[in-house]
């Protein structure tokens, strides 16, 4: 081979070498772009999922949770005043604050009146060692105790072995004694007296009932829980029998601390934070309020979407929209994160409206006449005629009146203030006031005025009267007109357009002071 052939060969080799380098560089850079794009897609997916979850949370979940919590809370408040544990005269001192508290926590600061001392009860208590449930004690029963509205059973427990990380469950043997409600509860209080868990079950038949805490209660040797077994308040003194260990022998927990709780259960009761569920006829379940719902959301995010979520409830504002609707607004701070994507400090506002229609009016429940009148709304318009008036009286519908208390204010009982925007009132029937007689029946039958009115006085120098419908309108029942019928303060009946109805000749208005000893008008 000549010099020129060698050179050509060399040039060719160099060219091939250059091509190889070029192709390699091109491939490497393209592959890198490809890998980066994949990583970018994955990150974008993360971002989209977290973004969708966060958007859903702020746009939808918060409103829904607020609606659920505020609806449950209002129902719970009505049920609470119907238990008779609220002071009739005063009612609830600050209904708005009370409502806010229930929306948030589903609990009230109240007195749990227990007349019998707590006893040890038969139970199987399990703890979690990692994910393995371990029975830490099991006690045979040898007697019974009952509980209902006046008795509860409380057990104090703490771990005796550091290996047990969480309280897992408790199993009790329960038999029906005279249950009026099938709801039974285990409430776990921590050592500072706060509710750490609430587990509800429906009683079906006699037997063992296991209440699971789901591995959410850290179990240590240095702290304790008080586990309380209870049922909703009822009028009976006992609902269920619970098998207990012999009172003469100590409850043996094989070395771990399980002394009886130091509750003051001597009969006078003690102020503690009570879950509102106790006062309900049917379970709302503890999860139905805002703090627990937020916890539910956090748990959902972690388990279903692998998203760490934090929901802080900053403020709850109650705003009565009109006579029939209560508006609830709340401000939240939300944070979400998953691997490389996070949203923090997202401010969100939730809004819900709760209707009062169909709920029993708390005012009439709280007052001495103690009647339960469900709220049925009736609007007073210019067309309000004699038939509408009859419906108002006979069906005890509620009408707007700015001098009357709003639905929420009516939880304050006798101290209920009037409400320009949202006052409602109904007229009490003669049967509602059957316990009253004499001069008291000279008061207006308008519900919010009955106890506060000074009554009429036809014998004085400046006589005042109560008014009634004196003639016999067609098709009216006799309970709604005549001398024994409902009496009104004239100012309160004026907005029913009584003047117009009277001028149409449909009714005639009379005035009198029934049961009053003064001279006749």
């Amino acid at each position: 081979m000549g010099i020129s052939g060698k050179r050509g060969f060399m040039f060719t080799l160099v060219a091939i070498f250059l091509i190889a380098i070029f192709v390699f560089v091109l491939y490497a850079s393209t592959s890198r772009v490809f890998v980066e794009k994949q990583a970018l897609d994955a990150e974008r997916t993360e971002a989209i999922v977290v973004n969708m979850f966060t958007k859903h949370l702020t746009d939808s979940y918060i409103d829904t949770f607020l609606k659920v919590a505020s609806t449950n809370a209002l129902r719970a408040m009505v049920a609470y005043v119907e238990t008779g544990t609220v002071d009739d005269d005063g009612g609830i001192e600050d209904p708005e604050a009370f409502y806010r508290e229930i929306i948030m926590n589903g609990s009230i600061e109240s007195t749990y009146d227990a007349s019998l001392f707590s006893r040890d009860f038969a139970m199987t208590l399990t703890a979690l060692n990692n994910s393995e449930a371990v029975t830490i004690t099991s006690v045979e029963s040898s007697g019974t105790a009952w509980f209902g509205n006046t008795t509860t059973l409380v057990q104090r427990v703490s771990s005796y072995d550091e290996a047990y990380e969480h309280l897992s469950s408790i199993t009790l043997t329960i038999t029906d004694n005279s249950a009026t409600s099938s709801d039974i509860y285990i409430v776990v209080y921590n050592s500072t007296g706060q509710i750490a868990a609430l587990v509800h079950q429906n009683f079906n038949s006699d037997g063992d009932y296991t209440f699971n805490f789901g591995g959410t209660l850290p179990f240590t040797t240095e702290d304790y829980y008080d586990i309380m077994l209870a049922a909703p308040f009822t009028d009976t003194t006992s609902d269920y029998d619970v098998d207990i260990s012999s009172s003469s022998s100590a409850f043996d927990c094989s070395g771990f601390t399980c002394n009886m709780a130091a509750w003051d259960l001597s009969g006078t009761g003690t102020d503690i934070i009570l879950p509102i569920d106790f006062v309900l006829d049917e379970a709302i379940v503890g999860e139905g309020f805002l703090r627990n719902l937020a916890g539910e959301l956090v748990s959902f995010g972690r388990q279903e979407m692998n998203i760490n979520t934090s929901v802080e409830i900053n403020d709850i504002i109650i705003d009565e929209k009109d006579a029939w609707t209560i508006g609830v607004m709340a401000n939240f701070t939300v944070s979400t994160s998953r691997t490389t994507v996070s949203f923090s400090g997202v401010e969100a506002d939730g809004e819900a409206e709760v209707s009062i229609i169909g709920l029993n009016d708390p005012y009439n429940t709280l007052m001495d006449w103690d009647v339960k009148i469900p709220v049925a709304a009736q609007n007073v318009s210019d067309d309000f005629d004699v038939d509408d008036l009859y419906r108002h009286l006979s069906e005890q519908t509620f009408v707007f009146n700015e001098n009357a208390p709003s639905f929420l204010q009516r939880f304050a009982g006798e101290d209920a203030a009037d409400s320009n925007c949202c006052g409602i009132q109904t007229v009490l029937s003669t049967s509602d006031l059957s316990a009253y007689s004499g001069e008291e029946l000279a008061y207006s039958f308008v519900d919010h005025e009955f106890m506060t009115s000074s009554g009429c006085d036809k014998g004085g120098s400046d006589p005042t009267y109560a008014y009634y419908i004196s003639n016999e309108p067609t098709d009216w029942g006799s309970a709604y007109y005549g001398g024994s019928g409902p009496y009104f303060d004239y100012e309160d009946i004026e907005f029913y357009h009584m003047d117009e109805i009277e001028s149409d000749g449909d009714i005639t208005i009379g005035k009198d002071c029934p049961k009053d000893s003064g001279s006749s008008s």
Partner: protein, 202 residues
């Protein structure tokens, strides 16, 4: 003369290198472009569908012929009570009614409310033009809709185009999204929480 040959070889090699590079680049581009799963479009599709499922009943359709719209038969007959409910939340409420005795129904709540779900799904899928999408909707263990379902599957609503859609099993990209469903029935009974799932694939 020799150096001319060398230059010739070098130029030839460079030209060859350029031709090969262009060819390689085209091949690589085609490989990347064709083998790349359609992630972005599925992501966008999922986002859009979840947004649409959040639409409130009162904002979906305005015709009386649309059974599940604010003016539709179900609202008229108080089967849908709260038109502020999002569409998927309303399906959650129907699911609750299927499994509860607390809802208004004539005799068999389960079959009645299952029928309502079917009616609403048909309306929604058609109204929002979702029948072309590869979509799967489920609440707890009940499948409300599957675009790849056929008549042998246990699905509440099956769209008319049984064979036109890609099966989930053959999808290149599939994205699921889970939604927590909770609400209040008729202002009194709290229902849920249920887990709803939306899947989109291509």
């Amino acid at each position: 003369m020799n150096s001319k040959k060398g230059i010739y070889f070098t130029i030839e090699a460079i030209i060859a290198m350029m031709v090969i590079s262009v060819g390689f680049t085209i091949l690589l581009y085609l490989f990347v472009a064709l083998s790349q799963p359609p992630i972005s479009s599925v992501q966008t599709g999922l986002y859009d569908v979840v947004e649409e499922l959040d639409l409130e009943i009162r904002d979906i359709g305005s015709s009386e012929d649309d059974a599940c719209s604010a003016k539709g038969e179900l609202v008229e007959n108080d089967i849908i009570i709260d038109t502020d409910n999002g569409f998927f939340t309303q399906m959650g409420e129907f699911y609750y009614c299927m499994n509860s005795d607390n809802c208004v129904c004539d005799s068999d709540c389960e079959s009645e409310y299952e029928e309502y779900i079917g009616t609403c799904m048909e309306f929604f899928i058609s109204k929002r033009n979702l029948d072309e999408k590869n979509l799967y909707l489920q609440i707890e263990d009940t499948v409300l809709y599957r675009s790849d379902a056929d008549s042998t599957d246990n699905v509440i609503y099956i769209s008319g185009d049984e064979d036109g859609n890609l099966d989930q099993e053959n999808a290149t990209v599939l994205f699921p999204f889970r939604i927590i469903l909770i609400g209040v029935y008729n202002g009194t009974n709290t229902w849920g929480p249920y887990t709803g799932e939306v899947r989109i694939w291509e």
